[in-house]
Amino acid sequence: MTGQPSSELSISKGVQQTTETLPTGQEAWQRVSALYQTHALALKKLAFLMTGDQPTAEDVVQDAFLGLCRRWPSLHETDSALGYLRISVLNGCRSVHRVRFRRRGITLDAPAESASAEDIAILGDANREVLVAIRRLPARQREAVVLRYYLDMSEAQAAQAMGVSRGTVKSATSRGIAALARMLEETK
């Protein structure tokens, strides 16, 4: 099940270290590379759902890992590194949306515009409409909806990933779902 996020985002035991102080230099780069092998694809999927564009999603993920390399000496635990990566990806996606908005004067790209005809066929109209609507949501609502319903995170987990409170996740999710319902109703 390539679309199932939970298995792909699971932490491999080989890189999970919660107490050991991490080294710097070459060995640190190797550790980051190991994290990349394990988590980069799943993070790219998350970024793709946020941005709707695969090259952009990959750029965001690459930037996140580059940032992780640079900050590695200041991170004490691998869990911190993983948290940093996801926050970096979310922030990177927000930046992408900001830049697009400024440059083009529109809210967002038409979603899946970079998708091939084959991809569009695989998605189906119903799913494509939902993805279009998700990308029209304000950033925080989009993040809350994707983290809650794609990654199946609890409110507390989504709050940590987004850097906001649980109440904010609850309200952003509710409002995001309501906005989606309205937009999908209008497209009928």
């Binding site: 679309g3 759902l49 998605l123 904010t168 309200s171 409002r175 779902i177 937009m183």
Partner: protein
């Protein structure tokens, strides 16, 4: 004729996002090689940068800080405020001080990946807009939520560990509660002390907590991580951390969704909480209940008493989102949501009574008056009570709204004192974004 139930929006999102993710099949090699990476070094310890002359000064300050901390911690452990007497009377004046989670670390103003995590608490004066202190979370933690006490000087904050794992872990990390006491206008404007209460649950998370009027007990409410039902309400001793009472259930959902739904009544014998009963007839119901913390029983539903039940019409786009009991126990305030559930909202409907605060008599269960009605256009929105005075003469309320126009959605929010049908905005810092208003406590 198909008999299949239409998919919910949530299920459509799950299906579509999983299908969308399958389009991403690979990723290139990591772009950053070790030769390209310039590692950032940790800053030198502060003492070195201060120079040798600064060390005695730092030491003296540390001694003073330890002395102050000991006094304050002793106060916390004894269960009584260090400098403020316990308050058991009904609050009548609008609180002057607030604590809010600083959202600036994730505000959409910077460019490029940022690491968040401070999530400091900003303490300030809502009358003047002046910030009093910025309270950093303890190392390795971030503040998740905050709740005010009745003396306008004390807050309780919930902190979680940073560094969430990429996977959905079995449950959130250990949660820690802190007592924050503020002393505006003094050289030590705040003191933060860890409470000795262990609140970690295996499959549940803290959704609400409230400090008793005398500051000696803390009520904590949990709900299941999966399913979302309230499963436990417990009372802890603030000085010792010992669990004093606990009630359980597994059928009721929390009304609204944030910490202000749980509150103490003056005297410290009654707790009020809102809930949504399962399978309520006639449409989803919201209830406001009270429980006598000295009474018998451990079943939360059986031991508590229904003060008010509001039945929301399924087809109506407007319904109660949060319910709050005023400190005198005489009035229940229903703050609505609009267009988030039930029928689809319209801009006109939202501006014409869809989003409002209504006072109900706790004695008769009848609506008494509309405290405030949002008049702006919005496609959907929600309202919540952050603080209530006696008989709801004054309340602090928040509204969060979205306006959907074409392909764009504009979000807005306001928080203010509601009196006689008017909302007077409070002065809060810009770093408390409109969508963070539920993280403000008074």
């Amino acid at each position: 004729m198909s008999t299949e139930e239409p998919m919910s929006i949530e299920d459509r999102v799950r299906t579509a996002t999983r299908a969308g993710a399958t389009l991403v099949r690979d990723i290139g090699p990591m772009a950053a090689g070790p030769e390209k990476v310039r590692f950032r070094r940790r800053p030198a310890p502060a003492a070195r940068r201060w120079g040798s002359w600064g060390i005695p000064l730092v030491a003296a300050a540390a001694v003073a800080l330890v002395a102050v901390s000991l006094v304050a911690v002793r106060g916390a452990h004894s269960g009584a405020p260090a400098s403020h007497p316990a308050v058991t009377t009904t609050p009548t004046t609008v609180p002057r001080y607030y604590a809010a989670i600083d959202a600036s670390a994730v505000a959409y103003s910077g460019v490029g990946p940022l690491i968040t995590g401070d999530d400091a608490l900003i303490v300030g004066d809502d009358a003047t807009g002046r910030a009093i202190a910025t309270v950093k979370p303890p190392p390795g933690l971030h503040f998740d939520s905050v709740q005010g006490a009745s003396d306008d000087r004390t807050f309780v904050a919930l902190a979680n560990p940073q560094g969430l794992s990429l996977a959905g872990s079995p449950g959130p990390g250990p949660e820690t509660l802190y007592l924050l006491r503020i002393a505006p206008g003094t050289s030590h404007p705040y003191h933060l002390a860890k409470l000795p209460i262990k609140v970690q649950g295996n499959s549940s998370e803290v959704v609400a907590y409230a400090l008793s009027p005398d500051d000696r007990e803390l009520a904590v409410e949990w709900e299941n991580i999966i399913g979302g039902e309230i499963n436990r309400l417990a009372i802890y001793s603030v000085p010792s951390g010992a669990e004093l009472r606990a009630w359980t259930t597994n059928k009721y959902f929390q009304g609204g969704g944030f910490q202000q739904t749980l509150s103490w009544l003056p005297g410290g014998r009654q707790l009020a909480f809102s809930n949504i009963p399962p399978g309520s007839r006639g449409g989803p119901q919201d209830q406001l209940r009270t429980i006598d913390v000295t009474g018998p029983g451990t079943n939360l539903v059986a031991a508590s008493h229904v003060v008010l039940t509001v039945t929301n019409q399924i087809s109506s786009p407007s319904s109660c989102w949060t319910m709050a009991l005023t400190p005198d126990g005489g009035t229940v305030i229903c703050a609505t949501q609009y267009g988030l559930a039930g029928g689809a909202g319209t801009n006109a409907g939202c501006a014409n009574g869809g989003l409002k605060f209504t006072a109900y008599s706790a004695r008769t269960g009848k609506p008494v008056r509309v405290l405030y009605q949002y008049r702006g256009a919005c496609s959907n929105g929600l309202a919540a009570v952050l603080w209530a005075g006696s008989s709801a003469r004054d309340i602090i309320g928040v509204t969060e709204t979205d306006f959907i126009g074409g392909t764009s959605i504009a979000s807005a929010g306001q928080v203010g004192v509601i009196t006689d049908g008017h909302l007077r905005p409070l002065k809060l810092p810009k770093s408390v974004s409109p969508e963070q208003f539920l993280s403000v406590a008074f």
